[in-house]
Amino acid sequence: MTVPEITDAEIDARYRILDRDAEEGGYHLNPDVAFTRNLVRGLLVNERRYGYMACPCRIATGKREEDLDIICPCDYRDPDLNEYGACYCALYVSGDVLAQKAPVRSIPERRPTRAERKAARRKQATGGLVQTAYPVWRCRVCGYLCAMNNPPLVCPICKAKQDRFERFL
């Protein structure tokens, strides 16, 4: 697969948007600007290739339904920020890491293996175990819950798209 050309201006523009959104949500981009700009370039490359910002540090299939968990911000960002102070690709870092200027390290992969993901797809939780007046949907990116017949088109908290929601109850 070829690499689409990404200009510095495109990287700057997306960097500003990601930085603003991160800060508004209480998140922080990695203060190593050169490293972070390179990741933003990777995100733009993937967006051009696949139509969505797949994690630059993971291999995407190009099938959105199989890549949902690694669309940035990925399902693993928050657990990784909690445990390691940075997400897998280190685009996002915790406030502590930012304040202490602690070095950010390459961390273990939390995403299940291909075989595990395939097995999990076969027995996806369907909910309905508890009787509720409405189904409850959970945003896999930020954990937002809502009780409605369908999840919202866009998560009102983190702006993740509807297909990032899973049935919770």
Partner: protein, 92 residues
């Protein structure tokens, strides 16, 4: 699968499986160059679909997570992620 060969001091067969978009892969690639060790690397995301699958299975044999960067030394020692000290100790 075509790999890029970087000339340097021979320390065995050193193969880096990387992604062209990944920050840690870039750091690992730069470290190998800095150390000056003879190695090959491949950007798995740039391969045609069939070769990509073949490369991914190869990576998974050494590293079940199929994550990047995966560095394989002499077809057996595996270093996953940008582990600078470990890489320097193994190849420096």
């Amino acid at each position: 699968m075509k790999m890029e060969h970087v000339l340097g001091t021979r320390k065995g067969t050193v193969v880096l499986y990387a992604l062209s978009t990944c920050g840690w892969c870039a750091k690992t690639k730069a470290l190998l160059k800095e150390i000056g060790v003879d190695h090959s690397y491949v950007y798995v995301d740039l391969l045609p679909q069939e070769e990509l699958e073949e490369a991914l299975q190869e990576v998974e044999r050494f590293n079940p997570h199929g994550s990047f960067p995966t560095l394989v030394i002499d077809h057996k020692k595996v270093i996953i992620g940008f582990r600078e000290q470990e890489i320097r100790e193994a190849l420096g």
